[in-house]
């Protein structure tokens, strides 16, 4: 599925700004650009670890199931953001990813990505570092959400 990614396209992604042209080429070799129609589900909460994505455009939301309550969207991702970081750690999917607006994603095949990171620690470092930055941003945002900054609702 999708079309192969070019090194140029990789270079345009902010996330990979730290990569040299040869590194970009290596990454391009394991990546594909995939269009996704609105309504599609990329993965579901509880699925085994899968591929890593970068949103190229459109909008994808992460939602969680809370027992006894309707499913709830908790975060939307847009251009330039990383999706499915659990791939890097080999964990199960922690949320469901749904496409809400027609989107394009860059899909990085998990096993090859991990292999690449192992073989070329420079690439591995850049990717892990970017993933870590994203995590830090999201952690902060989650904290704010948890604080319920709008104040307790009364009724």
């Amino acid at each position: 599925m999708g079309t192969p990614a070019s090194a140029d396209l990789i270079g345009d992604i902010l996330l990979f700004a730290g990569l040299t042209p040869p590194m970009r080429a290596k990454l391009a070799a394991i990546a594909a650009v995939e269009p996704l129609p609105a309504g599609a589900t990329i993965f579901e909460e509880g699925d085994p670890a899968g591929d890593l994505y970068v949103v190229l455009d459109g909008r994808i939301t992460l939602s969680v199931r809370i027992p006894g309550e309707p499913e709830r969207s908790i975060l939307s991702l847009r251009e330039g953001e990383l999706l499915g970081w659990s791939a890097l750690l080999g964990r199960k999917r922690v949320a469901t990813a749904r496409v809400v607006l027609p989107s394009q994603v860059l899909r990085l095949r998990r096993s090859e990505l991990l292999e690449l990171c192992e073989m070329d620690h420079d690439i591995g470092y850049v990717i892990m570092r970017q993933a870590f930055e994203e995590m830090a941003d999201r952690l902060l945002a989650t904290r704010l959400q948890l604080l319920d900054v709008f104040g307790p609702r009364k009724r």
Partner: protein, 647 residues
């Protein structure tokens, strides 16, 4: 200078009464020297001496001086000019359903206050700065102050807790008095610095003082200044205190402090107040009553959902950093006059001179910005105007927008400013102007408590009270010509709506406006219709996010700071922010990363408010009053305090 025989002191009372003045003076009441109505010299505490120490005040017999045996008791001119409880206005529901508000203003007869010390005259000057210094003047305070003739006394024998020499507010009377007495064994040396004082003096049988008597006064004052029981070093203190908000001493003093507020009650300069809204059983008549308050109470820093100063150390720090710190920036003078009352009347004997000395030992200096000067002082009687709700728009399940017609119209309706919106018997609350003009105001209100619940339940035709508008508007003139990023969280969109409307109406000055708005959920998005319309406006770029939603929601999900990136924050942009304080904190950080400098970042602050005019002290924020210096601040004004825990 004249000399008055001791035996002729009663003549002074006669002279004051001849002018129709009621006389207040020091007299022994329940074991303390209080300020109370007195009839003649026999009521003065002649022959009494006070022994004062930390947490200690005792009267005993000793000596035969009339004024010189004791210093200050718990009372000061504060009680006289600013009573501990007074009604500000009455409200009644008239037959036509409208509200009638009538001010309650004192009609103080001429009075005279006897035996006032230098420290208390300095304190009266300081209270006057707070209550009459601008931009508003409290007419009740002024009326009482102007009606009083002051007969002051030079202190020749300072007490164990006195330190007015180091605060430069005594022991010699240099301001605020009409007559000044200096006591000697045989009588009183009398000076009359004012016309009113000279008129009284003219009624007395005195002789000119001899040269050696005049010299004696100078010597006695010098000696008194050298004999202070305590001392304090105020030099550079504001900068030190604000640079040491984390000083270990705050915790240490908080272990002893009971947060009882005695210190603030006896302090002759403390002016904080709160208010109540008693009403008749049938609800047809109500009033607003002002009462002294203390920054040591939990309510002082309360806003719905919690308080800013939960711990005793927060409150003690608030008190001291204000009294001898921020006060200097606000009023050009320290709030401490060296009277020692807070030391004597503290049940656990906390000694502020000791605390100050300990806090001076440490590191840390903060530059204290001076708040904007308020050139003029307009009379403000704190009485609402009658107004009628003309329309109610439900925005979400706990927010409504009231359209309110104010009978006499209002001046200065600008986005960012706010009004005190009131319901008799229920309360008065600050609510931002979310739209409208002088004749028809829009207020968007979230039901969170007693007053807002009642306001949100109003229907067209219902009566409300409105006073204001108050505070500083968004500085649209300063923002023009650059891209503007507006960041709003929840009800925080209300004070920004008017500004957004103005910017949309002036596309030449505001060619690129980004609104980043975060709401709790899609159902909580305010002004939904208007937002839809704004999506069509070429100069306006709308970025909307909600904290969570159902999967059917196609918009952004996540906190508002996630909307801020190079797309929504163009190079060279200025920013306006309103929302919960914690949201503003993260927003400011994010904007700074994106290159928006502090001086082009504008925020609105929220603190408990009672008066909105600078009188009640509730909205203190470091050197600022949120009500009169804010609520809109540029971030560089408040950066040094913003986000400080317990402030």
């Amino acid at each position: 200078m004249q000399f008055l025989e001791r035996a002729a002191l009663d003549a002074l009372f006669d002279a004051l009464r001849a002018e129709g003045r009621a006389v207040l003076g020091p007299t022994v009441v329940d074991g303390a020297i209080r300020l109370a109505p007195i009839d003649g010299a026999q009521d003065l505490p002649a022959g009494w001496t006070d022994a004062q120490g930390p947490g200690h005040y005792r009267l005993r017999r000793g000596g035969d001086a009339t004024f010189d045996g004791y210093v200050v008791g718990p009372d000061s001119l504060k009680q006289v000019f600013f009573p501990s409880k007074e009604t500000l206005y009455r409200a009644e529901r008239r037959a036509d359903g409208k509200l009638g508000f009538s001010p309650v203003l004192p009609d103080p007869g001429a009075s005279a206050v006897l035996g006032v010390r230098a420290c208390d005259l300095a304190a009266a000057r300081i209270q006057r700065a707070a209550l009459e210094g601008g931009p508003y003047a409290e007419p009740r305070h002024r009326a009482r102050r102007e009606a009083a003739l002051i007969v002051a006394v030079n202190c020749t024998r300072p007490g164990a807790l006195c330190f007015c020499a180091s605060t430069e507010t005594g022991p010699r009377v240099t301001e605020g008095a009409d007559l000044v007495l200096t006591e000697r064994p045989d009588g009183f040396l009398v000076e009359a610095p004012t016309q009113a004082g000279r008129a009284v003096l003219a009624r007395l049988d005195t002789r000119p003082a001899a040269a050696d008597e005049v010299a004696w006064v100078d010597d006695a004052m010098r000696e008194a200044a050298a004999n202070m029981g305590r001392e304090v070093d105020l030099d550079g203190l504001p900068e030190q205190l604000f640079g040491r908000l984390d000083h270990a001493r705050w915790k240490i003093v908080a272990e002893r402090c009971l947060a009882c507020g005695n210190c603030t009650s006896v302090c002759p300069t403390c002016f904080c107040s709160t208010s109540e809204h008693p009403s008749s059983i049938d609800g047809d008549e109500a009033s607003r009553v002002r009462l002294w308050d203390s920054c040591f109470t939990e309510e002082h820093a309360y806003i719905h959902g919690g308080g800013f100063r939960p711990r005793t150390e927060d409150r003690y720090r608030q008190w001291l950093t204000h009294k001898v710190g921020a006060w200097v920036a606000q009023f050009g003078t320290s709030g401490c006059v060296g009277c020692g009352r807070c030391i004597a009347w503290c049940p656990v004997g906390i000694d502020l001179t000791e605390e100050i000395a300990a806090l001076r030992q440490g590191e840390g200096i903060a530059a204290l910005p001076a708040p904007p000067a308020h050139a003029c002082a307009t009379d403000e009687d704190l009485v609402p105007r009658a107004a009628t709700v003309t329309r109610v728009e439900r925005e979400s399940d706990d927010v409504v927008t009231l359209h309110v017609a104010v009978d006499e119209g209002l001046q200065g309706v600008l986005p960012g400013r706010f009004c005190q919106v009131s319901l008799p018997g229920i309360g008065e609350v600050p609510i931002s102007i979310s739209g409208g003009d002088g004749a028809l105001l829009e207020h968007t209100i979230r039901a969170v408590g007693r007053a807002t619940d009642a306001l949100c339940a109003l229907s067209p035709g219902d009566a409300v009270g409105i006073r204001g508008p108050y505070g500083r508007a968004w500085p649209l003139e300063a923002l023009a010509g650059r891209p503007v990023v507006v960041v709003a969280g929840g009800i925080g969109l209300a004070p920004l709506r008017g500004a957004l409307r103005s910017m949309i109406a002036r596309p030449d000055e505001f060619p690129e406006v980004h609104l980043c708005y975060g709401a709790r959920s899609p159902a909580d998005v305010l002004y939904a219709k208007e937002l839809l319309g704004w999506m069509e406006v070429p100069t306006m770029h709308l970025h909307l996010t909600v904290d969570h939603a159902s999967p059917a929601w196609l918009g952004h999900v996540g906190v508002v700071t996630r909307l801020l990136d190079a797309r929504s924050v163009p190079a060279g942009a200025s920013a306006m922010i309103c929302g919960p304080e914690i949201m503003m904190r993260f927003t400011v950080e994010r904007l700074a990363q994106l290159g928006v400098p502090d001086e082009r970042t504008w925020v609105t602050m929220e603190r408990n408010m009672q008066c909105a005019t600078g009188f009640c002290g509730r909205c203190q924020y470091g050197p600022y009053f949120v009500c009169k210096d804010g609520p809109v601040f540029s971030f560089d004004q408040i950066r040094f305090l913003f986000g400080e825990e317990g402030y």
